[in-house]
Symmetry: C2
Subunit: 341 residues, 2 copies
């Protein structure tokens, strides 16, 4: 598809040397970040504090605080595990547990290293069937229509040599072809999701920063007490094999930059290397002044469509050849901190 976008060199800074010259003229095509910054307030969606999990690690060796904020997935995905996670947070169950495993290009994982800590009463045993959700007949029809429109547009676009595509025709809800689902990946309500009509299912995706539920062998699916986050290339073979329950929206560097564990699978063999977790709380249970506020860019809005297109076709300064496409994990959903109300 790249041949349709033979655009002369333009002017932003990706892998530049520290003092790369700044272009003074206004670029013809804004960068993805510029598009996000220009999005109207109406396209930003507030995240309820009750959907945020706040993890405070012990301060680092220089005494700096380390806070990680996780956004929990909205219905209909993974709600059984998420109910458990809310109970675990309410019981202050994670206080005094630790980050126990950091495996390079894979995951950082936390929970009770002793494995002897009793779980709170009333946790659900969630079945494997919950790894995906039946979209229902009406939504399946809508999704299939969307895919059809998209592929027609693709065909039209790639069939015409040396002609720039009519960008206004790009379906608002773009489809991302993927080896991981027969029908493709798409964004829904702010989250990357896969769809496979023949499997009658849609399911959440393991992108960078995704938070999932550690488990033992099948049919165990984990309670939610043992969690991990992705700190490398998207391990999408885990999709539908482990529950994705959320994503880190702030502070992932406190996990991704930890020393890698020297044990098997990156576990810390030396217990003194574990990073203590002071507390994990739902943001809504924190004192008002300590509640972080975030919002995400509506993935069904116009700005997101432009942003996604710009991520897939970098034409801003610095870039020479727009890729002509992107995999869904290379289009992170913009999330930003906002002031409290």
């Amino acid at each position: 598809m790249n041949r349709l976008f033979s655009i002369a060199s333009l002017a932003a800074l990706a892998i530049a040397t520290p003092v790369a010259a700044q272009e003074s003229e206004q670029p013809e095509y804004p960068s993805p970040n510029t598009i996000v910054e220009a999005a109207p307030a109406s396209e930003w969606v507030k995240i309820a504090p009750s959907d945020l999990l706040v993890m405070d690690l012990a301060p680092d060796t220089e005494g700096n605080s380390r806070r990680v904020v996780i956004q929990l997935m909205p219905a209909p995905f993974s709600q059984g595990w998420i109910r458990n996670i809310r109970k675990l947070a309410a019981a202050h169950w994670w206080d005094g547990t630790s980050i126990n495993r950091v495996q390079d290009n894979y995951v950082a994982q936390w929970g009770d290293a002793s494995e002897k800590k009793a779980l709170p009463e009333g946790l659900e045993t969630v079945p494997e069937s919950e790894y995906q959700v039946d979209p229902g007949l009406v939504e399946t029809k809508i999704l299939l229509k969307m895919f059809e429109t998209y592929f027609e547009w693709q065909l039209e676009r790639t069939g015409i040599e040396n002609t720039a595509p009519d960008v206004s025709k790009i379906p608002r809800l773009a489809i991302y072809e993927t080896p991981y689902a027969l029908d493709g990946d798409f964004f829904q309500n702010g989250w990357p999701v896969s769809f496979d009509e023949t499997e009658s299912g849609k399911w959440p995706i393991h992108c960078y920063g995704a938070v999932g539920v550690g488990r033992n062998y099948s049919p165990d699916t984990g309670s939610g007490a043992e969690l991990y986050t992705v700190i490398g290339h998207a391990p999408r073979h885990l999709d539908r094999n482990i529950a994705v329950v959320g994503r880190i929206i702030e502070g992932i560097e406190h996990l991704s930059s930890l020393p890698r564990g020297k044990g098997q699978l990156g576990f810390y063999e030396d217990a003194s290397k574990r990073i203590p977790i002071n507390s994990i709380r739902l943001a809504s249970t924190l004192p008002e002044s300590d509640q972080p506020r975030f919002e995400y860019l509506n993935t069904e809005g116009e700005s997101f469509a432009k942003y996604a297109d710009a991520r897939a076709n970098r034409r801003d300064p610095f870039f020479i050849v727009p890729a002509g496409g992107a995999d869904i994990c290379n289009i992170p959903v913009p999330v930003r901190r906002v002031m409290g109300e």
Copy 2:
């Protein structure tokens, strides 16, 4: 495609809790690692010490040494920059420079932070045309035939409901569909490569651990003095926009676990945070006893084909649903250390 692989739950350890029970019986399908371990010696290819770049960082705060080993790309890719890199290493140019930038889910970058250090004489100015290589008529024909065979096989496979595909029919050289190249991704001589016949080109891919050449705005392509490596999800929009010159085959954790820079683009604003580079040398110029020896699994061999299939279709213990496919960066080429001769 997943519907063809409705295989009952089997039994390895991906995101397990620390004491996951070990299955005692022999699994029906070996894990990717087991396949690699069982590969005969004849399928391993030695990497010449003259193609290895050894970067020694200053020891960490606990006094542990930090060595990073980079394998340089073989011809026909990026050879102009690689000739420069060999000259820079021979001139000991990097000694006393530093890691200056670590941006989360993106890159770690090194070079001369002062930007005043004179470059050695005789470095080439490499043109942008070198970002891709013309495969030549004969190779293009072979590649197209390969793609045709692959897509026929795919069609056959996906056209038959509820029937397991004949794995023996999988073309030895698999093609990975991708949004980043019209014809697809494949492995050649141990490296992930994209191919687009209409662009008459093939080019190297930015996977996790890839090493590339920092540059200023086009038409500058960088000398090779400023280098970076990928420490997050594959930023494939950089393909054909920056030169890929190699990959880290050992010690990437010394870069990926560094504190993220707090300046723009992850640069260290505080110069004292930079990590000093003691030396960068071609391994062939080190004392014999200090030369690291590595080999990679032949990507045209039978074991690699099995390994890649197992990565795309995890059926080893722990997994419930094989994905039915993989993106090329989720199939890292196995590389191992060997004893000196």
